[in-house]
């Protein structure tokens, strides 16, 4: 199966305001797929629908061939929310253990996997520390580790680098690239062009509509521009002209 995620005609509105107005999207396997768009474009809404947290008003979404929402999907996807969304008062290990238990991982498996993941996010030996005592950047890395516990095949990252210093941002993007190499499909939202260039593929979302999708080269070619920033501006102007 090469299409990990396939979405057609997805619509969602909140109290009359359209958050998504007919989105079609296809995400191939083992890539870092960027969902690019300004704040309020509908990126988070889309991710929440795909995670089974929200029901769409219309349209269909398929993940690994199952239609969303489906209980079987939940153990195949990982979700890293915008906020840290972990228990401040528990240690790093206790956080990992709890979420591991929710995924029915065996105790020994959780321990081994936790060690592996802390190494992956370069936080070995921090397992005993209470989450609340860690810096924001470290908490973000634990959050990534937690969302990877059950070896998801598709990982949703909702603005994973917002409020993160440039060095950690680079580290996180290195992690994402490595995950894609390990055949994990990564769907990441961002509103930063410099992050978009690190994605294998991109989709540009604006005001609830998907303006374009493809590789960075394809998008440049389609818009007749030389770099991605110009392409974005061209797209937005084109949209405003409509």
């Amino acid at each position: 199966m090469d299409r990990v995620l396939h979405v057609t005609g997805l619509r969602k509105s909140f109290k009359g305001r359209q958050a998504l107005s007919g989105v079609d999207l296809t995400v191939p396997r083992g890539r870092v797929f960027g969902l690019l768009g300004p704040n309020g474009a509908g990126k988070s809404t889309l991710i929440r629908i795909l995670c089974g947290l929200l029901r769409p008003d219309a349209g269909e979404a398929y993940i690994l061939g199952w239609r969303v929402p489906n209980a079987r999907i939940q153990s195949q996807i990982g979700y890293m929310p915008q906020e840290t969304a972990l228990y401040d008062d528990l240690t790093v290990d206790q956080n990992l253990r709890f979420f591991g238990e929710l995924y029915d991982l065996p105790r020994s498996g959780i321990r081994e996997r936790s060690r592996e993941l802390l190494e992956f996010v370069q936080m070995t030996d921090r397992g005993d520390q209470r989450l609340g005592t860690l810096s924001g950047g470290m908490q973000r890395r634990v959050s990534l580790a937690v969302s990877l516990l059950h070896k998801p095949r598709l990982l949703f990252l909702d603005e994973p680098t917002s409020g993160v210093d440039p060095r950690l941002r680079r580290t996180l993007w290195d992690h994402f690239a490595r995950l894609a190499e390990e055949d994990v499909t990564v769907l990441v939202t961002t509103h930063l062009i410099e992050e978009a260039v690190r994605c294998d593929m991109l989709a540009v979302l604006s005001q609830g509509r998907l303006l374009v999708q493809g590789t960075a080269d394809e998008i440049r070619r389609q818009t007749g521009t030389d770099d991605l920033e110009d392409a974005m501006i061209a797209l937005q102007e084109g949209e405003a002209a409509e």
């Binding site: 947290l53 939940q74 915008q82 969304a85 008062d89 709890f98 929710l102």
Partner: protein, 406 residues
């Protein structure tokens, strides 16, 4: 198993949070101590002023030796017979000064016994009860009822009745003493002679015992709803609830996990409440602890459902607390905790019947005060069970909604 993980996680987090832990352990203690000490007391050392002008003598007719004078000292007997704990008795000579002191708020009551008090009392007793014998000197004489009406001056009581509680305590205290002394003079004057009374519970149930079950139910409402709604709101605002619900766990499993944790905590707290109130205040508890546990479990499960619903509407912890007050205050007023439901105006009754505390209170009272078992509280138990099931169902639905609206 996944529910168990949720339960363990909540308990672990509470266990590591010393402030919450202390709160959970201390709130019931604080509640029961405050309640027990402020409600178990009765009025004590009420200052009253007595003016005893009674010369103690009674002049009566006899069949044998004509009119004789007996030394009765009835006023003195009454004064000495007053409850020493209830009253602080001050004796003075001036009746006007005594009344003036009451009027000026310096004392609760003033009683003036007139000069011929003993005479009047004895002759009235003979008139009502008929003749009787007594020893006079070395011989037995028959005392005869008076020929004329003996409406001699009786004692006068001036009472400051601005506080109903104290008024009734004083009247009760005076009445019982006077009745006891008069019964010594004349059986026919005592109410016990005409009304045969059988008290089922030996008159041992105090107001404190009667209100304790309701207070325990109220304390459980406060603690359970507060703890549950704040925990859920906190998980939602921190985003952890979203993360939990993205995992392969169903909303009902999350709800079950929560319920198990908070029911466990509630049982611990109820145990604490009962232990302290029976040890320290000797609250009457003659029934089976097992049935108390059943009542409490059904009641708190329902309350957790309410708390979950509440946390769906509350944006933050502060709002959750505000909603909590809206729930708590009426439930204390309408559920028959202090006043019997029979004393509620009919227009208010539907509110009483809508409050789960009404049923928990009645059931707890029956088990604790009278030792009734399941067959006598089957109605209350079924209402509470229905309440628990419905609220739990709504909680699961709202948990799902929390996931979608997170």
């Amino acid at each position: 198993m996944k529910s168990l993980a949720v339960t363990k996680n909540i308990l672990r987090r509470i266990g590591q949070d010393q402030r919450t832990l202390i709160l959970i352990a201390l709130i019931p203690l604080f509640f029961v101590l405050l309640y027990g000490y402020s409600f178990s007391g009765k009025p004590q050392h009420l200052r009253i002023i007595l003016v005893n002008q009674d010369n103690g003598l009674a002049s009566v007719r006899t069949a044998e030796v004509g009119r004789i004078t007996l030394e009765m000292k009835i006023a003195r007997q009454i004064i000495d017979g007053l409850d020493q704990e209830l009253f602080d008795v001050v004796e003075i000579d001036d009746p006007d000064a005594a009344r003036a002191q009451v009027e000026q708020g310096g004392t609760w009551a003033a009683i003036v016994f007139p000069q011929s008090f003993s005479h009047a009392v004895l002759n009235e007793a003979l008139r009502v009860g008929g003749e009787r014998t007594t020893t006079y000197g070395n011989r037995t004489v028959r005392l005869l009822p008076p020929t004329d009406a003996t409406d001699g001056p009786s004692a006068s009581l001036t009472l400051d009745d601005s506080n109903p509680m104290i008024t009734s305590a004083i009247l009760e205290g005076l009445k019982s003493t006077v009745e006891r002394i008069l019964a010594g003079q004349q059986r026919a004057l005592s109410p016990d002679a005409v009304l045969q009374t059988r008290l089922l519970y030996g008159g041992s149930i105090r107001a404190l015992d009667y209100t304790a079950p309701g207070i325990i139910g109220f304390a459980m409402t406060l603690i359970t709803v507060m703890l549950t709604s704040i925990s859920i709101v906190r998980e939602r605002t921190a985003g952890t609830l979203t993360r939990v619900l993205v995992a392969p766990i169903r909303p009902w499993q999350v709800t079950l996990g929560y319920t198990t944790a908070f029911t466990g905590i509630a049982l611990f707290q109820v145990g604490e409440l009962f232990l302290v109130s029976t040890l320290l205040f000797h609250i009457r508890f003659v029934g089976s602890p097992a049935w108390v546990a059943v009542i409490i479990v059904l009641f708190t499960v329902g309350l957790q459902g309410i708390a979950t619903l509440l946390s769906t509407v509350a944006r933050n912890e502060f709002q959750a607390m505000q909603f909590l007050l809206f729930l708590l205050i009426p439930s204390l007023m309408v559920s028959g905790v202090f006043w019997p439901l029979e004393a509620m105006p009919p227009a208010m009754r539907p509110l009483s019947y809508a409050s789960p505390l009404t049923y928990a209170n009645t059931a707890l009272r029956r088990v604790m005060l009278t030792g009734f078992g399941p067959s006598e509280i089957v109605f209350e138990l079924s209402v509470l069970a229905g309440f628990a099931v419905i609220m739990l169902g709504l909680a699961i639905v709202s948990m799902r909604r929390q996931a979608f609206s997170a």
